[in-house]
Every structure is written in C-alpha cells, then in structure tokens.
Amino acid sequence: MKEAKKIFKTALEEGRTFVLENEAKDIMKAYGIPIPAYDTAVTADEAVQKSKAIGYPVVLKILSKDVLHKSDAGGVKINLRNDDEVRKAFTEIMTNAKNYGKEKGIEVDLSRGVFISDFADMGTEIIVGVTKDPQFGHALMAGLGGIFVEVLKDVSFRLIPFTENDAREMLKELKAYKILEGIRGEPARDIDSLIGVMLSVSKMIAENPEITELDCNPTFVYEKGKGTLVVDARILIGESKASH
C-alpha cells in the first residue's frame, strides 16, 4: 500500500495523472496480482542483459512520462527472440520516441529507457477494469476481450468492494461465460485464479481510492490450474481523496 502511495506522489509531482508501466506492475505485484516477469533498462546493453535474465522471447516498451499511448509513438516491440533483436528494438524505440516528440513539438524524456517484459503465452483474453462513477463511486468491470468487448459489449459490473460470490456471479452474467467453462472440447479456464485477480484489484482500489480508472487489458487466463496473467495494466489517478 505504501508502495502505491509513493508512486502516485511521484506521478503527481511530475504532472502525470497516469503511472508508468513499471510502476503499475510494481503496484500489481504488491497486491499479489500475477504478472509476467519484468524489468527496466536505460541502455541497449542493459536491455540485452536484463532480457536474457528474464528469458526470451520478450517485449520492449518505451518508458516515459511524455508518452501515454505507447503504440502510437512506435514505442512497443513484441516477440523479441534474441540479443540482436533486443538491441535493434531498443535503438528503434528511442528513435521513434524522439520523432514522436518532434511531431508533437515536445522533447520526450528518454531517461527512463524501456520496460522489458516476458512475452506471455496467449491465453483466453480477458479485460478487467475499474471506473469511477460520479454517483456510485468505484466499480469493477469484467468481460472477455476481442469481439466480445469491442462488438458485443459483453461486460458486467459490480461496485467495489465486492465478495467472491459477486465476482463469480459477474462472470456467469457474461454471455461468453461458457467459453470460460470450456466449449467444443476446449479445457475449462482457470476461473478461480481470475476471480483472485478481480478480488485483488478490488482490494487495491479500496485502499487507493485516488485511482480513477484502471484497465488490465489484456489479461490472459489459461487452462484450469495454470493461472492468470495481467499482461498490460494502465492506471489513471486523480487527486487523493478517501471516498469510501
């Protein structure tokens, strides 16, 4: 909890209302939310060294207070399988970020280098998110990713905090719930571990009400017994105020 407060303080001091990816992951880790192995590096050599330690393949992403939408800035390189690819990706990301800054007429801060993460195996794609409603306060959303969320808007909500029973019902409300149970010979997904993630996020928000919005997108849930991974996390914050 202290970890999170420190990160939010730094962000607000830098004039950011979002936290950097490594910071988001640090907070996630503190709440026991499963995430792929990660690290940061400020030089190409360091990136190679850290990538090796994590184990290939890896993902590299720009880490800068000036870049919120990393893909738009050409700041994301995925499925890097060896030292050379990492070295090349690092240089490209830095160049892209510089150019992105020129287009926007700002100088992009590159001093934090890149975020390195284990390239997670594909699982069933889930979105877990949090919104802060002006009337009802914080609510958690869950749904299956891809067309289920984009086209069918197949998502369900509960106010935070909620019980394990609520979390289970929430998933059952989804039209796509059968996919989690396993259809057409597919094994069942690890629903219990997904519920664990939902409850941990609920706890995180209850203890840090300054979080205004959060997306764990994508979150991969694997087959039963093999867990869940939050691959990407975005946290937005507002002024610190205990609301409930």
């Binding site: 979105i127 998110g129 949090v130 919104t131 409603d133 002006p134 009337q135 009802f136 306060g137 609510a139 959303m141 749904g143 969320v149 808007k153 998502v155 369900s156 909500f157 509960r158 106010l159 909620f162 609520d166 059952k172 409300e173 039209k175 919005e213 959060l214 997306d215 997108n217 975005r234 937005l236 609301s243 409930h244």
Partner: protein
C-alpha cells in the same frame, strides 16, 4: 434495521398540527388546494393558515406569522414565492418547528440564483435543526394519517387507499409522476401507505426515506422512481439498500440511461461503463429489484406485498383452461423459472384422485368442467410432496362449474402452507370482481398469464435476495 434515527422523518407523516404558509382563498391556487386537503374530516390533527392578507381561509383561522399561533406546530407546509422563503424559515425557527415541506419552485432547479437561495434556506434549517422535504415538490400523501400536501384537486388526481392486507409506499423524484401514480393507484386496487415526492432533495433524500420506510410497519414494499443521484449519493443509497433488502423488498424504476459519463471517460473501462450499467450493477449487488416501467413495478409490488418470498424456483401451474396453461408456462419459462413435471409418485396419486381426462403434467390441466375440489386435490398433494416452491393458478370463471368456492380453496392452501400463490384470471366484469375478492383474501390476482409470470418471477427474485444460498435454485439461467 439500523439506519440511525428516523424520528425526524416520522413527523412528516404523523404531524398532529400543521401550518400552511401561503394559504390562500383564491380558487385553484396551490395555497387553497392544500388547505382543502387538510380541512377534510379524515385528517384529525389541527390545521392553521399563515398569510398576513387573511383573517381566515376556507373557514380556518389565518395568522400573519407562525409566532402568532398559540398551539405548537409539528409541520409547516411552505407554498410562498421562493424569494421570501428565507424569511419564512426565520419564522419557522423562531416558532421551534422541526419539519417543513417546501412546495415552491424557483430554487436550484432554475440556476445559480435559485441555488444560492436554496443554500440560504438549507443553512438556516441546519442551524435550527429543521428537516426539509423539497423544494420544488408536491410533498407527501399518507393514506392512514391523511396528511396530504398534493395541491391537486381530488376530482383530477385521485388518492390511493390503504389496504387491510398489505401496502406499498413510493418515493418519487418527480412530482408529476407522484401525482400520476397517486391517481393511477387510486383505481388499481393496490394498497398504498405513503407517496413522497422529493423534488430537489435539499435535505431529506432517498436514503432517509429508505431507512424510515424500512422500519414502517404499514409499508410492505418500498418503491422508488429516480432519475439519478447527486454526487456519491448513489453509493450511500447502495449501502443503505444493502442493509434493507434482506428484510423488505425494494423496487426501483430508474430512467435516464444516460451517455454523459461515457463521453467523459478516457479509459476503455470508463467508455464501456456509462452510468446506467454501474447503476444496474449497484441495484443487483444491493438486492434492489430494478424494473423497466411502472406497470411491472406495480405487478411485482402487489405480489411482494401480499406474499412471502419463494424459497426456490420450482413453480406448479394449475389451470382449468389449456391455452392459459401453455401461455403462462411459456412466460414462466422465459422469466427463468423452473417448471418441473410432477414426480412419478405424485403423478400416480393424481391419476388415482382426478378424473382420467385431466392432463397431469406442468401445467396441470383440471379442464373446463372442473369445480374447486379438483384444485383442492392438486394443491393438497403438491404441497405434501414438497416438489414445488410456488403456485400459479389459472382461474377462468366463464364456466359455471367453477364456483366462488375456488377463492376459499386457494386462500386456505396459501395460508396453511405459507407458500406463495399467484392467481391469473382473465375476463370481464365478473372476473374482475372475483379478483378483488381473491385479493381481499390476500392472494394477488392478475388479468394475464404474462403479468402473473412476472409476479412469480419477482417472488423468486426476492427469495434469492432474502435467502441467499439457502434459496433452492434448480435451474441455471443463461440470462442475468
């Protein structure tokens, strides 16, 4: 229920002496209409008019200020132009009155100047411990105490009546809806205890009334019409409702499925949320039953007020008309209820006791020439078997073989078993009268199978809310 003190709210419904500020003798004025309500013999408390222009209004004494009245005053109804309300509240404070309903408009609903005026009044009220309903509302109707501040003449806007069986109370953000519902329920045969129009909610709000009505013995079901909540007030309503719903059913119609919140959101989750989906989740999570419209609300409220919650989802449909049976079970199925066939044992018993041409199944058709004894057999054995949690009874009275004894049979089995019963009786004048009699005996009766199915669904839904894991849910619905 532990909501805090509800004493300060009770006076709005049980005031023994009322002063009407802005009472007037001019025809069709708000001031005159309210005085007219209170001079009816049904209201047994004392009534005073306040208006420096008159010595008396419609035969009751009229005073320049409250302080000129010797008697203590419990409740002041304010129907004066907005700009002079601060002065009126000085007078209320000086008189030591603790409750006021501000009927007048012209406050925060009109813009910044009105908001300032409203804040001024609220500050005065807070300082002197005066509770306020309104402003910009039509106030309350209490069908038992006959407190009635609706300034609408009764020939235009009927008032509902209390029932000896069970009553609902309704809280409405909109005054116009409160009036329409008053008028509508006066004809509906639904027992009503209290109607409250909240207006701008400058003090007394949804939460206060939820707490009060939860403890009110004359209210069996609490109904709300709302368009939305003030900042964070949705959250407090959620928290209060979570405590109330295990003890008393709460129904809500919420309009304004607005898109505003969506536009403001910058995250994926925020853009998918919109306020209404969050509201929907909040109601579900706190055990509030949300319905789409007033027709559904009254159908559900009637059943919930008159019957116990169901302990499970297994419904037996009994009918003396095949078509009604099929149509109703279709609706029950669509509502997500279970319609299990009788077990082999139960089927065997029915075969022995009922004529061979009765169709044993679910629905169970005792056919057109049935008298009430066939129903009696069906209920007796089904209740004994423990195979059903609820009964939906088709009672078609066009056939002369079915005498009014059927209402006794239904009511007796309902009372003895404690299981919820819902009756569907289609038809004209005779049927309507029979339905009224059935309801006087405590069993809700509907004109169509769809309405009865909706009522049955509400009884199961509330059973799930009330009993939680102990509710016997036999089918897993695909739908939320």
């Amino acid at each position: 229920m532990n909501c805090g003190s509800t004493e300060s709210i009770d006076v709005f419904f049980n005031a023994k002496s009322v002063a009407i500020y802005g009472a007037s003798a001019s025809q069709n004025s708000v001031g005159a209409s309210i005085v007219q309500n209170f001079i009816k013999p049904q209201y047994t408390g004392k009534v005073f008019a306040v208006n420096p222009k008159y010595k008396q209004v419609l035969g009751i004494p009229c005073f320049p200020t409250l302080q000129d009245i010797e008697d203590p005053i419990d409740l002041v109804i304010v129907a004066v132009p907005a700009r002079i309300t601060p002065r009126v509240f000085e007078d209320i404070a000086a008189k030591g009155v603790k409750a006021s309903i501000i009927i007048s408009g012209g406050f925060s609903e009109t813009g910044p100047i009105g908001t300032e005026l409203e804040n001024e009044v609220v500050d005065l009220a807070k300082k002197h411990g005066i509770r306020i309903i309104g402003p910009n509302c039509i106030g309350v109707v209490d069908t038992l105490s006959h407190i009635d501040t609706f300034f609408l003449p009764e020939y235009r806007c009927g008032r509902p009546k209390p029932s000896n069986v069970a009553n609902i109370s309704l809280v409405s953000q909109s005054g116009a809806f409160a009036a329409a519902i008053s008028d509508w329920t006066s004809e509906l045969g639904l027992g009503v205890s209290k109607l409250i129009s909240l207006g701008n909610k400058c003090d007394v709000d949804d939460d206060d009334l939820l707490c009060y009505l939860a403890d009110d013995d004359s209210t069996q079901v609490i109904c709300y019409y709302t368009e939305g909540y003030d900042q964070d007030k949705g959250r407090t309503f959620f928290e209060t409702a979570s405590r109330v719903t295990p003890h008393k059913p709460v129904l809500v119609v919420k309009s304004g499925r607005g898109q505003k919140a969506k536009a403001a959101a910058s995250s994926h989750t925020g853009s998918l949320a919109g306020s209404d989906k969050v509201a929907d989740a909040a109601y579900r999570q706190s055990g509030v039953i949300r319905v789409d419209n007033f027709e559904h609300m009254f159908d559900a409220a009637k059943a919930l007020a008159m019957q116990h919650a169901a302990l499970g989802d297994r419904v037996l449909m009994v009918t003396n008309g095949g078509g009604l049976g099929v149509m109703t079970t279709d609706a029950l199925e669509a509502a997500g209820l279970a319609i299990p066939s009788p077990s082999n044992e139960l089927t065997q018993i029915y075969k022995e006791r009922l004529p061979a041409y009765c169709a044993i199944g679910n629905p169970i058709d005792v056919v057109g020439d049935a008298d009430s004894t066939r129903y009696d057999i069906v209920f007796e054995e089904a209740i004994k078997s423990g195979e059903y949690d609820m009964f939906v009874v088709g009672m078609l009275l066009q056939t002369p073989s079915l005498s009014m004894e059927i209402t006794n049979v239904i009511a007796n089995h309902q009372r003895q078993s404690g299981l919820p019963f819902v009756v569907v009786s289609m038809g004209g004048g005779f049927t309507t009268k029979a339905g009224e009699i059935m309801e006087l005996m405590g069993v809700p009766t509907y004109a169509t199978g769809e309405k009865a199915a909706f009522a049955a669904k509400a009884l199961a839904q509330y059973g799930e809310i009330k009993y939680g894991d102990e509710f016997n849910k036999t089918i897993i619905s695909d739908k939320p």
